[in-house]
C-alpha cells in the first residue's frame, strides 16, 4: 500500500484521529525508550503510578475538553482546584464538618461557579478567556481570604482515602484513580452518546448553524462551563486526598497543563473536533514526561516545562497542517 492510499484511508476515517494516533505512537515510543534506558521503568506499577499521580489532572482535563470542544477556554480550573482544597480543609479541619457533607458542598460550589461564568459568557457575549480569568482571580483571592497558610488535614476519612491501596493483582491503585476513571467513563458516555454531547460538537463546529438548527445553544454553552466547574471541584477533592492539605498555592499553572493535555490529545482549539480518549492520552504523555525526567535524575524539574512547551508547539503545528489541508 503506497503512502497516498494510507493517507486517503486516514482521510476517509476522519482527520480528527490523526493527532490522537500520533499521541498514541508517542506514548508507546516514550514508554519503550524509558524501558530501554532505565532499570525498573518497565513495570506495571510505573504505569499505574502515572494514574495515581495525575488523577486530578485527568479529571480537570476532561472538563476542559468539553469547554475547548465548544471553542471556548476555561482558565479558572487551577484556581478552582485550589479553592476546593482550601474549602475542604477549612470546613473539615477547622470547623469539624463531616467530610460526607463537605465533598458534595465543594462539588456544588464548583458547578455553581462554572455555571455562573458560563452565564456571563453567554448572556453578555464577553470572551470566555477574560471571564474565566476573572474567575481565576476570584477563586485564588478567596483562598487567601480563608487562610494565607497551608491547612493540613488529619481527618480519618481523608487520610484513609489518601493511604488506601486497592490491589490489582500484585500492583495497586488509589481510590482517586477509581474516581478519575469513573469520571472519564461518565464523560465519555455523555460526550459521545448523549444529546448534550452532540450539541457540544455542533456548537464548536459553528455557533450560528447551531442557533439556526434550533439547538439549545444557551443551555449547552452554559452547561460546558458547569461541567468544567464540576470537574475542577472534583479534581480539587482528589488533590485534597493526594496532598492532605488545603493551600492557595496548590495547582498553580494546572490550567496550562490541562490545556496542553487537551491539545496534545488532538482536540482542535477552534472547537468541534476532538475525542475524550485523546485527552486521556494527553494526560498520560504529560505524566510520562515527568516520570522520565525523574528517572533520569540528572535533569532538573524545569525541563518538564520546556518539553511540554515543545510538544505543544509540535502538536499545534500539526493541527494547522491538518486544518489547512481540509479547507483546500
Amino acid at each position: 500500500m503506497s503512502t497516498d492510499t494510507v493517507l486517503s484511508t486516514l482521510t476517509r476515517r476522519g482527520r480528527g484521529q490523526i493527532p490522537m494516533l500520533v499521541t498514541s505512537v508517542l506514548l508507546v515510543v516514550m514508554f519503550a525508550a524509558g524501558s530501554v534506558s532505565y532499570d525498573g521503568f518497565l513495570s506495571g506499577q510505573v504505569l499505574l503510578n502515572l494514574l495515581i499521580d495525575n488523577a486530578f489532572l485527568l479529571v480537570v482535563a476532561v472538563g476542559m475538553t468539553f469547554v475547548i470542544l465548544t471553542g471556548g477556554i476555561d482558565l479558572s480550573v487551577g484556581a478552582m482546584v485550589a479553592l476546593s482544597t482550601m474549602i475542604s480543609a477549612w470546613l473539615v479541619q477547622l470547623h469539624g464538618w463531616p467530610p460526607l457533607l463537605v465533598i458534595p458542598l465543594v462539588l456544588a460550589i464548583g458547578t455553581g461557579a462554572g455555571l455562573a461564568m458560563g452565564w456571563v459568557i453567554h448572556t453578555f457575549e464577553i470572551q470566555p478567556f477574560i471571564v474565566t480569568l476573572a474567575g481565576m482571580f476570584l477563586a485564588r483571592g478567596l483562598c487567601y481570604t480563608i487562610s494565607i497558610d497551608s491547612i493540613s488535614i488529619t481527618d480519618p476519612t481523608y487520610t484513609s482515602m489518601a493511604q488506601t491501596r486497592i490491589p490489582l493483582g500484585e500492583l495497586f491503585i488509589s481510590p482517586s484513580v477509581l474516581i478519575a476513571v469513573l469520571a472519564v467513563v461518565a464523560a465519555f458516555v455523555v460526550l459521545h452518546y448523549s444529546r448534550f454531547g452532540r450539541n457540544v460538537y455542533a456548537l464548536g463546529g459553528s455557533e450560528q448553524s447551531s442557533v439556526l438548527m434550533g439547538l439549545p445553544v444557551s443551555r449547552t454553552k452554559i452547561g460546558v462551563y458547569g461541567v468544567s466547574g464540576f470537574c475542577s471541584a472534583l479534581g480539587g477533592v482528589l488533590m485534597t486526598f493526594y496532598m492532605l492539605s488545603g493551600y492557595g498555592l496548590h495547582a498553580v499553572g494546572l490550567e496550562l497543563d490541562a490545556i496542553a493535555a487537551v491539545v496534545i490529545g488532538g482536540t482542535l482549539l477552534t472547537g468541534g473536533t476532538g475525542y475524550l480518549l485523546g485527552t486521556v492520552l494527553g494526560v498520560l504523555v504529560l505524566g510520562l514526561i515527568q516520570t522520565v525526567i525523574s528517572f533520569q535524575g540528572t535533569l532538573s524539574s524545569w525541563w518538564t516545562r520546556i518539553v511540554i512547551g515543545a510538544l505543544l508547539f509540535v502538536f499545534i503545528l500539526l493541527q494547522r497542517v491538518l486544518t489547512s489541508r481540509r479547507r483546500t
Partner: protein
C-alpha cells in the same frame, strides 16, 4: 459636560482619582512629596516607580490587543530577559562597568526580539490563534529562564545596572523616565504616523484591511516583537530594582495584570481601536489598587479578589449586550414596553 464624560479616558481617570482619594482618607499625607538627598520621595512617586514595568508591558500588550491578538508570554519574557542580563553581569570580570551593563541590556533585548519574532511568525505566518501561540512560550519560557539561572536566584552588584530600575536621575526615579520615554515614543509613532491607524484597521477587520492593501502579516508580526521588547525592558527594571534575577517569580502574573490594565484603559479585547493613554491610566489604577491594599492593611494576596471584581465590572460596561440591556431597562421603565427588543438579541446571540 457630555464632552468630558463621553471622552474615552473619562472612566479610567475617575477610577484612578477615586482610588487615590480613598487612600487620602486612610493616610492623610498620601499626596505629600518630599525632596530628600536630592531624591523625590512619596506615595505617588512610589506608585509611578513600581508601576513602570507594568506600564511598559501593558503598552506592548495594547498594541497586540489592538490587532485582535493577545500575548500571554510577556511574563516569561520578563523572566528570561532578567535572567540573561543578570547572568552576563555576574559572570563578567567587571560587573560595575557601563560597558558590561550595556552588553547585558543588548543581550536581553536581542533575545526578546527573537522570542517576539517567533510569536509573530506563529501568529501572522502560520496562523495559530494568538492565545495558543503565546501559550507555548508562556509554558516553556519559565523553564528556559530557570535553565539560564540554573534554578538559583542570581544576585548582582553593579551600580550602572542598579540605575535602570532602582536609581535616580534628575531627582526622579530613572524607571519612571524610561517608561515615560517609551510611552511618548510609542504614542508619537502610532498617532503622528499612519501606523496606529493601520493597526486599528487590521484589528477591526483583517479581511477588509488585506483587501485595501495593508500588509497585515508584517504589522501583526511587528506588534509581537514590540510587546516582547517592552517586556524585556520591564524585566530589566524588575531585576535591577532588586539586584537579582529569579526565574521562578520575576514577572509572575504580569501578563494578567497587563491585560487587566489594557481592558481598564478602555481598549476592547476584540481588537480595533486602542488608547495608549488609557492603558497608562489602567496600569496606574492596578498599581494604586495594590498600594491601597497594602496601606489599608488587607492581606496583599486578597488583591486578586478586587482585581476580579474590577475585570468583571469593566467588561460588563464594555459589553454592548449589557449596555443594550441596561438601556432597555431604563427606557422600559419609562414606557413599559420592555420585551420588544429582546427577540432580536436572542437571535444575534
Amino acid at each position: 459636560m457630555k464632552l468630558v464624560t463621553g471622552h474615552r479616558l473619562f472612566w479610567p481617570a475617575v477610577v484612578l482619582i477615586a482610588l487615590l482619594l480613598a487612600n487620602l482618607a486612610f493616610t492623610p499625607d498620601f499626596f505629600a512629596i518630599r525632596l530628600r538627598d536630592g531624591h523625590l520621595y512619596g506615595s505617588l512617586i512610589d506608585i509611578l516607580h513600581f508601576g513602570s514595568p507594568l506600564i511598559l508591558v501593558a503598552l506592548g500588550m495594547t498594541l497586540v490587543i489592538a490587532t485582535g491578538g493577545i500575548d500571554l508570554s510577556v511574563g516569561s519574557t520578563v523572566a528570561i530577559a532578567a535572567a540573561l542580563a543578570c547572568l552576563h553581569i555576574s559572570e563578567s570580570d567587571d560587573p560595575g562597568s557601563v560597558g558590561t551593563v550595556l552588553t547585558a541590556v543588548a543581550i536581553a533585548l536581542g533575545v526578546a526580539l527573537l522570542l517576539g519574532a517567533a510569536n509573530g511568525v506563529l501568529v501572522a505566518r502560520i496562523g495559530v490563534q494568538p492565545i495558543i501561540a503565546t501559550l507555548i512560550l508562556m509554558v516553556a519560557g519559565r523553564g528556559v529562564a530557570q535553565l539560564i539561572t540554573d534554578g538559583q536566584i542570581i544576585t548582582v552588584t553593579s551600580e550602572p545596572f542598579k540605575l535602570i530600575g532602582g536609581g535616580y536621575w534628575l531627582t526622579v526615579p530613572f524607571s519612571i523616565l524610561l517608561a515615560a520615554a517609551v510611552v511618548l515614543f510609542a504614542s508619537m509613532l502610532t498617532r503622528r504616523t499612519a501606523l496606529g491607524l493601520l493597526l486599528e484597521s487590521v484589528g477591526g477587520n483583517p479581511v477588509a484591511s488585506r483587501l485595501v492593501g495593508i500588509r497585515a502579516a508584517g504589522l501583526i508580526g511587528l506588534v509581537y516583537v514590540v510587546s516582547a521588547l517592552c517586556a524585556a525592558l520591564a524585566g530589566l527594571m524588575i531585576s535591577s530594582n532588586v539586584s537579582a534575577a529569579d526565574g521562578n517569580n520575576a514577572g509572575l502574573w504580569i501578563e494578567l495584570d497587563a491585560i487587566l490594565a489594557v481592558v481598564v484603559g478602555g481598549t476592547s479585547l476584540n481588537g480595533g481601536r486602542f488608547s495608549l493613554g488609557g492603558t497608562v491610566l489602567g496600569a496606574l489604577v492596578i498599581q494604586t489598587l495594590s498600594t491601597t491594599v497594602y496601606t489599608i492593611g488587607i492581606p496583599p494576596e486578597t488583591t486578586l479578589v478586587f482585581k476580579a471584581v474590577v475585570v468583571i465590572a469593566v467588561c460588563l460596561v464594555q459589553s454592548p449586550v449589557f449596555r443594550a440591556k441596561a438601556a432597555r431597562r431604563k427606557s422600559g421603565a419609562r414606557h413599559g414596553n420592555r420585551p420588544v427588543a429582546s427577540k432580536k438579541l436572542e437571535v444575534g446571540a
